[in-house]
């Protein structure tokens, strides 16, 4: 920005601070909700083209995902892995690192937990077993991300590609582990030995929601505080904003890159581990919920803001849970949610672009 334009900005008519605040809040709300609205509208048009009534579909989704007690509990339960994965992505994205290998990291942690838990519960109390499972699974996920991290830190190889490749590799490897190594010999369909319901994460009060939701909420708040209020978080943000400047500021960028990757993958691994300890208790062969890429737009919508992510995760969990039952009842396949996610990302980028254009025009 040049000196001339600075003075021009100063000489502009000063506005009362309250109206400015209202305006900026309104703009922020618009920036967030306009993409959501546009995505729902265009998504609705697609439903219409398929010969379905979009209002019926959205109404059904809201009903099943939010307004029915059982559905709402399922929604809260679904929020747990989404929140933890979002936490992992926030760490990476704020540091300017594209960890897109979430699916592989998630599944490997899930399989390790599913293999360890039934064995460990024989020899130790539940709380200790849960801690052991989580620690080992998180370490495995972090280790799985080491190769992309090293390639990025040492040779500057694009981490999008390497983390995706490791993800495909991880998904197949998790299947190999389920089918060949940890298979429960007593079942016909290949799966790991079942962890009894009594030994899983405790349920909250009289609901079906497990304690993982508390862990997830605490983790996302902690991650937010770490990224915005600690020197480590600030260092990561500098690396993300301008790696070259970070080098000149004396930061060890290679080391920070590796640490970011480990932390990000570790959090995603935590999501996998808790999903098994809280909900499934076992991993079946070929099970892959594929949350990895769909969490990306949520994190973007929240502008990498940890607390803001909670709201969007709730929104998306409602869509998923409602969509799953709509696919059985209304005959709209589950894949429709993928289209909606893509539309969200698209309109998010478009609205951002228009916003910048508008601000530039205001400034001139």
């Amino acid at each position: 920005m040049s000196f001339v334009s600075d003075t021009r900005a100063d000489s502009a008519v000063p506005q009362p601070p309250s109206s400015k605040l209202v305006k900026s809040t309104l703009a922020a709300v618009l920036r967030i909700f306009l993409p959501v609205l546009l995505a729902l509208v265009v998504g609705g048009l697609i439903l219409f083209a398929m010969g379905k009534n979009p209002l019926d579909y959205y109404g059904y989704v809201l009903n099943r995902g939010l307004f029915s007690w059982g559905g709402f509990q399922a929604t809260l339960t679904r929020m747990v892995p989404l929140l933890l994965m979002a936490a992992g992505l926030i760490v990476a994205f704020r540091a300017g690192i594209w960890n897109l290998g979430g699916d592989g990291q998630f599944l490997l942690a899930a399989v390790i937990t599913a293999a360890l838990a039934p064995a460990l519960i024989q020899v130790m109390p539940r709380s200790l077993m849960i801690i052991c499972c989580i620690v080992v699974s998180v370490a495995v996920s972090a280790l799985w991300a080491l190769l992309p991290a090293l390639l990025k830190a040492r040779y500057g190889i694009n981490e999008i590609i390497t983390s995706l490749m490791m993800s495909f590799l991880g998904i197949s490897f998790a299947n190999v582990l389920v089918k060949l190594v940890f298979r429960d010999p007593t079942t016909t369909v290949p799966q790991t030995p079942d962890l009894p319901v009594a030994d899983r994460l405790p349920r909250l009060f009289d609901t079906t929601v497990h304690a993982g939701i508390l862990i997830a909420l605490v983790v996302i708040v902690l991650v937010h505080i770490m990224m915005t209020r600690t020197s480590f978080g600030l260092k990561l943000q500098i690396v993300g904003a301008n790696p070259r400047a970070a080098v000149h500021a004396g930061l060890n960028v290679a080391w920070l890159t590796i640490a970011t990757f480990a932390l990000s993958a570790g959090l995603i691994g935590l999501a996998g581990s808790i999903e098994i300890l809280g909900v499934w208790g076992t991993v079946r062969a070929d099970w892959n919920p594929a949350y990895g890429l769909v969490v990306v737009p949520l994190v973007f919508l929240a502008r990498f803001h940890g607390i803001g992510t909670i709201g969007f995760t709730l929104f998306f969990a409602i869509l998923m849970i409602g969509g799953e039952s709509a696919s059985r009842r209304i005959g709209v396949p589950q894949h429709y949610v993928l289209v909606l996610v893509a539309l969200l990302l698209l309109f998010l980028a478009l609205v951002e672009y228009l916003d910048q254009l508008w601000r530039k025009r205001v400034k001139d």
Binding site: M50, I157, I160, I161
Partner: protein, 311 residues
């Protein structure tokens, strides 16, 4: 172990490698054109998938494989046009849009397939092959290499044509400068945006044909999510080839072999879970990246939108 060396095993392995490698070759060549021009095309997976869907539907209703390829290529170009509009015209983040297009066309093709065929997966008739006289009579290799659908030979010829084009024509020069120093191209009076848009459309066309080949020839049917990372392998090929098409061909052959292992081992009667074999191509990618990491080169302006007059 001697069963591995029987004629039928080798023939089916190499034949399968060519069939599996051609989509990778086309995707890799396409991505190479984009990357040369400075566009990182993460959406190539979506282009392949939409190409596969369009190509399959066209071939299914017309019965013509050539129309299948044509519509596959056009389908890929539709996705590419979105990239050109959003990333090149408007300068939106190429990675965000790339992810959006990949996820979106995964979902959209699955929806379209569901609307059209419900839960059935109709098959196409076997693909016509063109046996090259003389060469196809060579034992083992002849049937494996020289008795394919005509598109295979065209794709290989395209590799050498692109090598010539990149090196010896002004088009190659324009592409190169759009990726290395877009301002210079602009100063020379050539539109950076038009050059990049053309490059991305070419990518979409090739990736779409690759997808159509995968569906119509490789599988004989369309299954949602069937590309399963082939587009991303194409990106790796382009990265490692450092702008040289012949290296994409070699890479595609390498990954084709590892993809073909699954069926070939089953022919040989060796039964290991498909998951183990499915790991092969991706493990190969990582191995190749680790070994040749320092040699992969990308243009400096890759992924950056071009705005005239901006530093």
């Amino acid at each position: 172990m001697d069963v591995l060396l029987t004629q039928s095993f080798l023939t089916s392995l190499i034949f399968g490698a060519v069939t599996a490698g051609i989509p990778l070759l086309l995707a890799g060549l396409g991505e190479q054109i984009s990357e040369k021009a400075g566009v990182l095309n993460i959406g190539i997976e979506g282009m392949m998938l939409f190409g596969a869907y369009c190509g399959f539907v066209a071939a299914y209703y017309t019965g013509s494989f050539w129309l299948g390829y044509l519509f596959g290529g056009l389908g890929g170009m539709v996705v590419a046009a979105l990239v050109a509009l959003l990333c090149i015209r408007l300068g939106l983040n190429q990675i965000v849009i790339g992810i959006a297009l990949t996820i979106g066309f995964e979902g959209l093709t699955a929806l379209l397939h569901y609307v059209q065929f419900s839960r059935t997966y109709p098959r196409l008739s076997p693909v016509p092959t063109l046996a090259i006289p003389g060469l196809s009579d060579i034992p083992v290799l002849g049937q494996a290499l020289f008795n394919h659908n005509a598109l295979v030979y065209l794709a290989v010829l395209l590799t050498f044509f692109l090598a010539w084009l990149f090196r010896n024509s002004f088009i190659g020069l324009n592409l190169e400068s759009a990726g290395n120093k877009p301002a210079a191209l602009d100063a020379a009076g050539v539109s950076v945006l038009a050059t990049r848009s053309a490059a991305v459309l070419a990518t979409g066309f090739l990736a779409g044909i690759g997808g159509a080949y995968m569906a119509n020839v490789g599988a004989g049917l369309f299954v949602p999510f069937m590309t399963n990372g082939a587009g991303f392998i194409g990106i790796v090929l382009a990265m490692l080839a450092r702008g040289r098409p012949v290296w994409v061909l070699l890479g595609a052959a390498l990954f084709g072999i590892s993809l073909a292992m699954t069926t070939a081992l089953q022919v040989a009667g060796i039964n290991i879970p498909t998951d183990v074999v499915q790991m092969l191509p991706f493990a190969m990618v990582m191995l190749v990246l680790v070994i040749f990491a320092r040699h992969s080169v990308l243009p400096p302006a890759l992924g950056l939108p071009y705005v005239r007059g901006e530093r």
